[in-house]
Structure formats: structure tokens, C-alpha cells
Amino acid sequence: MTAVSIRNANKIFNKGKANQVDALRDVSLDVEHGEFVSLIGPSGCGKSTLLRLIANLLEPTNGEVVVNDKPAAQARLDQDYGMAFQQAGLFEWRTVRKNIELPLELKGWDKPDRAVRANEMLELVQLREFGDHYPWQLSGGMQQRIAIARALAAHPPLLLMDEPFGALDEMTREYMQGELLRICAATGTTVVFVTHSIPEAVYLSNRVVVMSPRPGRITKTVDVPLGGERNEDTRNRTAFFEAITAVREGLRGMHAAHVGLGDDDR
């Protein structure tokens, strides 16, 4: 009874043609309910592709993707997950409130229910006064919070995030990480989080999954024994640095392997 279960998934783009790409090879991953798992790896390692397999925005060439004990396609139709991207992607012609209501409209909720839930989400991300503003009136960090509010509006059990803080400056980023943990603790959501940043992955996750460059494989999984309660002090703990080192070694190991001597096929 896992939140996400991937078995031996492959993803090949343009199969059989000259520009064939082996994005993912033989990937298996289990994510438990309530877990926070990060996917990290160099550019082109397929982490975004893997996320999209879970989201059923792409189909695996082989293998199985099970979300919430259903095939990924069914999970998408049942709206069992919310998604957030690097660009907040709010609709500039809708107010903040209406942006949050978007998934609810598509699910056929009626107006009063939508309004109640939207207010709830605005409270959750602490932007209650901005409900009637337009996205372009908000800062980047605030827009991302609204994007998260939108992703969680229908209270999905699973949250998928593709480098959502990548476009923010460092300080806003750290603040947002704290906010994300607070929100997920409040809602008990399972999270699969794609990032480039090692400290970010370690700070947020229970587990960090390291992926290799193309063809993407999972090369290492690092458990982060920092416990559930994380705050500013967490960044100073020894366990934090140890986990970062472990992840870095995992990344460097494969990097050395493919840049080292006798490397013919790169």
C-alpha cells in the first residue's frame, strides 16, 4: 500500500529513429504514504521525465507505474495528485483566488464550496489578504505559494513538484522550503520533489534518490535521519552535513565514472 510504486520502468523517446533518447532505464521506486522523497541528479538524468511518468503526462515504454494503488492513468483521471512547476504558471487573467479554484472548477465543484476551499488554502499559505489580487501583482515567492495552494486545493494525497523554487533567490528559497514542510505536515501529503540543489533535497526529504545521467537510473538512495521537525537549526546539525556529503558523493561518483579515463562513449 504505497503512495507511488514504479516497477522496472523504461522511457525511450523517438524509438527506432535517429534521434532516439534513452531517458530512463529500469527504474524502480517505492514511496510510502506521508514520505517526502527528492529526486536529484545532473541535467538530463531523467528526473523530470520520471516525475511525468508518475503524473501520467508521459507513458512508460515498459514497466509499471502505480499511484495510490491504481494505474497512473486512472490516478490522473481521479485527480489523485497535484503538481507544481518551476514557473508558477498562474493564469494572469484570473485573480489569485480564482487561480486556486481552477482544479475545483474542472472537478465540477459548485461555487460556494470552491470559495470555502479557496479561502482555506489561502489561510494555509498565509496569503489571505491577497485573494483578490492578480498574480502579476505578487512577488515570485508569493506566486509559488499560490501555485502550491492550487496544487493542494483538492486535497490530493500526493504532491509532485518539479524544481518549484528554482527561479527564486536563495533567501526566499530557504523560506519557501520551511513553508512547504509546514504545509505538508499540516496536510499529511506525500511529496515527490525534483531539484538540482543538494542542501534543498536534504533539508526537505526523508529520502534522497540520486539519479545518473542519461540513460537515467537510480544509483543511490540516501536516508536522511533528521526527523520530522525541521527548522533553521537543522541546517547546522552534523547529520545534515553528513547527508549532504553522502548525496554529493553519490553524484560525484557517477560523474567521475563518466568523465574518467577510458570513457569512450560520451
Binding site: 493564469f91 494572469e92 474542472l106
Partner: protein, 280 residues
């Protein structure tokens, strides 16, 4: 600023009139300078005063009334044509957005046709008036004028709307896919709102094209009631009454500006909540 520009034009007009040769003249050997006699170039204030006097000797109607009535008639024709062209244009754009094959087949012709003088078809379309019968329905002549306006406005509207529909960012499309939204839902919740900033200049161009189509249709056949016919009529009477034709020209200008004004008003309303950046 705008008024200052108009004043500048008036000043240039009157200066040339005062200084230029009465019978036209040569510039660098080419007979290019216009005549400045009263017939050819009336004073600006004569043009305005002409508005107040009767249209035809002995008639009750002032020129002002006549010109206004003509402009209003043409305005209604243009508006009808514009609406028709808009509906077909947007419909075709949606069709092209939905079916790549249709887009690939039809779009190049749409783009090319904007460089081609489609207006050449005007006399042909207008000649259908009065001669064509479909059952009990006799093709009224004014419909040809509107149809020409519709035809001219439909091209820029279709092209511009398609550009807008295709401009939705990939991540937003993915977002709606993640909501398992149908193509139609995605059209109304994402593609159309994204298209609006692109549709604005397209509709403006469409509006002025509709006016051009209607006026040309009126002129090429002398359609009764419109401003085009008035211009031709007054131009013929110019030897006896030089200022009158200018009144009709002002009427045509008013027609164009009013159509543009309506479209701009709608634009402003529709874009009122959007950030102030433009799309080109």
C-alpha cells in the same frame, strides 16, 4: 497632442493654398503641384461651414445631416461585416488549432491572402446584388457590401486568433493535462484567455478592413445610402461646390474612427485586469 497634429495639417494646407500656383505647376519638370484655386482647394473654414448649409439647393436637409446619415449607414454595414468576419475568423482559428492538418492546409493561404488585393473582388461580389435569388430571398445589395467587409476582416482575425491560441505556454497545457481536462475545457480555460492579447491587434485590423471593404463596395457600385456614394456624388459636384466633398471625407474619417473606437473600448475592457505589457 493629437489636436496639435491636426492644427499642423491645417496650417500646412492653408500655407500651400496661399503660396502655391493657382493652376498647378511643375516641380522638377513634372506636373506635380496641385492647383490652389477655389475649386481645387477650398479653405478649411469653408469646409466646416459647408456642414451647416443645405445639401442640395432648396432641400431641408443640411449637409451635416446627410453626411451623418451616410456615415451611420456605412457604419451599420461595416459592423455587420465585422461581426460576420469575426465569427468565421475565430471559428476557423479554433478549427485550425484543433486539427493540425487543417492548419497546414489552410493557414498559408490565409497569410498570403493578406498581401493580395482581395479588394479586386469587390465589383464581383457587389454585382450579385439584385440579381441573385435563393428561393424567396433576393440578395439585397447592401449585403454584398457587408460581405466584402466580412471577407476582408476575416483573414487578419483568423491568423491573429490562431497565433494567440497556439501561444499558451507548455507548462500551462501540462497543468491542464494533469487535471485530465478535455480539449474543449482547455480551449476555454486556457487557450482563449491566452489568445486575447493577440486577438486585440487582429480585431483592430479586422475592423479597419471591414470599413475599407464596405466603402470600396459602396464606391464601386454607388450603393445608395452609404458614405461612399456621397463622396462620389459630392466629388462630381465639386466644380460648383468645392467644399462639399470634404464634408463627406470627414464623414468617412468619422466612420473609421468610430469603428476603431468601439474596438478599442472593448479591448480596454477585456484587458483591464492584465499586466501592462504588449504582445507583438
Amino acid at each position: 497632442m493629437f489636436l496639435a497634429a491636426l492644427v499642423l495639417v491645417v496650417v500646412i494646407w492653408e500655407t500651400y493654398k496661399a503660396l502655391g500656383p493657382a493652376d498647378g505647376g511643375k516641380l522638377l519638370g513634372v506636373r506635380i503641384l496641385p492647383r490652389t484655386s477655389e475649386y481645387a482647394m477650398p479653405h478649411v473654414w469653408d469646409m466646416f461651414s459647408r456642414f451647416n448649409r443645405p445639401e442640395v439647393r432648396g432641400s431641408d436637409r443640411t449637409v451635416f445631416d446627410a453626411v451623418l446619415a451616410g456615415a451611420w449607414y456605412s457604419f451599420r454595414l461595416s459592423a455587420t461585416g465585422f461581426v460576420m468576419g469575426g465569427v468565421v475568423g475565430v471559428g476557423l482559428a479554433v478549427l485550425m488549432a484543433r486539427f493540425r492538418l487543417v492548419q497546414r492546409g489552410v493557414l498559408p493561404y490565409l497569410v498570403v491572402s493578406q498581401t493580395v488585393p482581395l479588394i479586386a473582388l469587390a465589383p464581383l461580389v457587389v454585382s450579385w446584388g439584385g440579381k441573385l435569388e435563393v428561393g424567396p430571398f433576393v440578395w439585397p445589395r447592401w449585403l454584398s457590401a457587408s460581405l466584402l467587409g466580412a471577407f476582408l476582416s476575416f483573414f487578419p482575425i483568423a491568423v491573429g486568433t490562431l497565433r494567440g491560441l497556439a501561444a499558451a505556454p507548455a507548462s500551462s497545457v501540462e497543468l491542464l493535462q494533469s487535471y485530465a481536462a478535455s480539449w474543449t475545457k482547455t480551449l476555454f480555460k486556457l487557450r482563449f484567455p491566452t489568445a486575447v492579447p493577440y486577438m486585440v491587434p487582429a480585431f483592430r485590423l479586422g475592423a479597419s478592413s471591414a470599413v475599407i471593404g464596405v466603402v470600396v463596395a459602396e464606391i464601386s457600385t454607388g450603393l445608395r445610402g452609404g458614405i461612399g456614394r456621397l463622396i462620389i456624388e459630392y466629388a462630381r459636384e465639386a466644380t460648383g461646390d468645392p467644399a462639399k466633398v470634404y464634408t463627406a471625407i470627414f464623414g468617412a474619417a468619422l466612420l473609421g474612427l468610430t469603428m476603431a473606437g468601439v474596438v478599442v473600448a472593448v479591448d480596454v475592457f477585456v484587458m483591464r485586469n492584465r499586466p501592462k505589457e504588449s504582445v507583438s
